[in-house]
């Protein structure tokens, strides 16, 4: 197949499906108890230099407890998929955790504004950047989940996004049309936050999926953080509700409020006041240092962080906003 055009973006992970198969051949299929403390799971499954995927959609269902723990443990030189990464990469910027990023979307917190700390990391030239788009990255995860080396798409053609991407433009052998091939992305480790899990790692979540199912099917190691553990018997009563089955999962951690301060569908809304604080405090280096000392490095764990922010009363308030109960209350 002739390559008509080639993106110059670095391919950070090996798209070879046989290399992946050799790994997955060795991955345990045992239905063993995988209940782990989050700090231990981060120690075991995140190594300096690994390629990391954070599930969710930045301000929604991102495993923020895991992100804080990765920063606290001081991991370095991680590769990262910015598959609409907002508050998650903002926090990962605290420790300068990453040094190479596939960017579909970073730096911004959607309509809330841009993260200065995250911008500085990219403007420093210390981070190697490969451009992508949300569909492009979604296809890269899907290709990996399918066990194929690439998938085709019909976007990015003619743009600088393509030029700095991993894409290869070829002529379709069936129609003669130009298509862009995207290489499979097998991450070393992925963290996904869910509503419920059992001790074996069977997990289910509600609301939008983003690319989390393909990510769970393609990452070499998968760590689940769950709002709550439920009995295995309860989980398997309705197999069709299981989003991620246990044989994909390496560790399961029970972390109530594990997405805070971002939103968890049907559980709690994002803490917009705190997200605004994050954006504001980044403007002042001294205040920023004190702020991350208090809310990241100075927290034993996520429960400690939530407690500092207002604990159960705050979470009740965010739950009311998520479920529109605050509107109903106003309407009387």
């Amino acid at each position: 197949m002739t390559i008509l055009e080639q993106g110059i973006g670095e391919i950070f992970t090996n798209p070879d499906p046989d290399e992946a198969r050799a790994f997955f051949r060795t991955k345990s299929r045992r239905k063993s108890v995988k209940l782990t403390e989050l700090a231990d799971a981060v120690t075991e499954y995140v190594h300096d230099g690994d390629y990391l995927v954070i599930g969710g959609f930045g301000a929604v269902r991102a495993p923020m407890a895991a992100v804080h723990e990765i920063v606290r443990q001081g991991r370095r030189n991680l590769g990262f998929a910015g598959h609409t990464s907002t508050h998650d990469i903002q926090v990962l910027s605290v420790g300068g955790v990453y040094d190479r990023v596939d960017i579909a979307y970073v730096v911004g917190l959607e309509a809330r504004g841009l993260s200065k700390a995250c911008r500085s990391r990219f403007e420093s030239g210390e981070v190697t950047v490969t451009e992508d788009s949300n569909h492009g990255l979604a296809l890269r995860f899907k290709a990996a989940a399918m066990g194929v080396p690439f998938l085709p798409m019909r976007n990015t053609l003619g743009t600088d996004t393509f030029r700095y991407s991993t894409g290869r433009t070829v002529e379709c052998p069936f129609t003669g049309k130009k298509v862009v091939l995207k290489p499979a992305l097998y991450a070393d480790v992925a963290f996904i936050h869910v509503h419920e899990a059992d001790v074996y790692g069977n997990a289910r979540f509600r609301g939008i999926q983003i690319s989390d199912l393909d990510v769970a099917n393609s990452a070499k190691h998968v760590v689940i953080t769950a709002e709550r553990l439920i009995p295995h018997e309860e989980m398997v009563r309705t197999p069709e509700t299981i989003s991620i089955p246990y044989y994909l999962v390496d560790a399961v951690c029970e972390v109530p409020g594990g997405a805070y301060p971002v939103a968890m569908p049907y559980e709690y809304y994002s803490d917009e006041e705190h997200l605004k604080q994050w954006l504001t405090v980044e403007q002042d280096a001294e205040k920023y240092d004190a702020f991350v000392q208090e809310y990241v490095y100075g927290c034993r764990d996520h429960a400690d962080y939530i407690q500092k922010r207002g604990g159960a009363a705050l979470m009740r308030e965010l739950r009311r906003v998520e479920l529109n109960l605050d509107m109903e209350a106003h309407h009387g």
């Binding site: 969710g56 579909a104 600088d160």
Partner: protein, 257 residues
């Protein structure tokens, strides 16, 4: 004449472009307000899609994130990103709205880097997100933006999302889906479209309070002018009432009147 501000006018103009029974991929903010207004006025059967996976919500409350649960509240799909991009790629999504830091005369948009070079940018912006996807696949791409020379430039620093690239026929030659492309640019000064022959930006109507000179002076490239150039229709009292009372009662996006 009703009293209104420029953001309210832009939202009303954008809403009127969305026909009943069509589909639109939107983000948060003004485009979402426009889609909500269209649904509450002339287009009750407008299908609204959000790139993170939400489809057809009952938008009782403005989402803050493109993925928050308001994007699928009472909706028909709480799916994946691919569940949105695939119907776009199949040709089932008629309209989309994009934002960006820069736009050129062919509607190419930049939301990636400003100044410096790609690896050492002066300003790093978020990147494509779903913008390149939407701009490649949706039939008609619209932009809502403030009109000034910083945004309307002869050449964007980086083409994040494709407009008509270098002119007529360029999208098709690049391999993008046939018949897609930029459609409207809705600004605080004017409503613009694109000339069929050259694919360059063309002013369709000028907003109340601005002149032809104002619009050209705020644009970093030579504009074309529609032979039917007129004045932009103002919002009706009913459109403003719905926008203020039902869509954005806190005035998060429309600001003060």
């Amino acid at each position: 004449m009703a009293d209104y501000n420029e953001m309210e006018l832009m939202i009303v103009v954008a809403a009127r472009e969305l026909e009943d029974g069509s589909s639109v991929g939107v983000g948060t903010g003004a485009p979402c307000a426009a889609a909500m207004l269209a649904q509450k006025t002339h287009a009750p059967n407008l299908l609204i899609l959000f790139e993170a996976g939400g489809v057809g919500p009952d938008l009782v409350r403005m989402p803050i994130s493109v993925g928050d649960s308001r994007t699928f509240y009472h909706g028909v799909r709480a799916g994946s990103m691919s569940d949105i991009m695939e119907p776009c790629a199949r040709g089932m999504v008629d309209y989309t709205f994009l934002g960006g830091a820069q736009i050129d005369s062919y509607g190419n948009m930049n939301s990636t880097v400003i100044g410096g070079d790609h690896d050492h940018p002066k300003v790093r912006l978020p990147g494509s997100g779903g913008a390149n996807d939407y701009a490649s696949y949706c039939w008609r791409t619209m932009v809502m933006t403030v009109h000034d020379r910083r945004r309307f430039v002869e050449k964007v620093d980086f083409i994040t999302s494709p407009g008509y690239l270098t002119g007529a026929g360029a999208r098709e030659a690049a391999g993008l889906p046939v018949g897609t492309g930029p459609y409207r640019v809705i600004t605080n000064m004017a409503v613009l479209g694109y000339d069929d022959a050259t694919r360059r930006m063309m002013v369709l109507s000028i907003n109340p309070g601005y002149t032809r000179e104002d619009v050209q002076n705020a644009t970093g490239f030579e504009l074309l002018w529609s032979p039917d150039l007129g004045a932009t229709d103002e919002p009706t009292a009913e459109e403003l009432r719905i926008l203020r009372e039902e869509i954005d009662p806190q005035r998060y996006f429309i600001g003060r009147a």
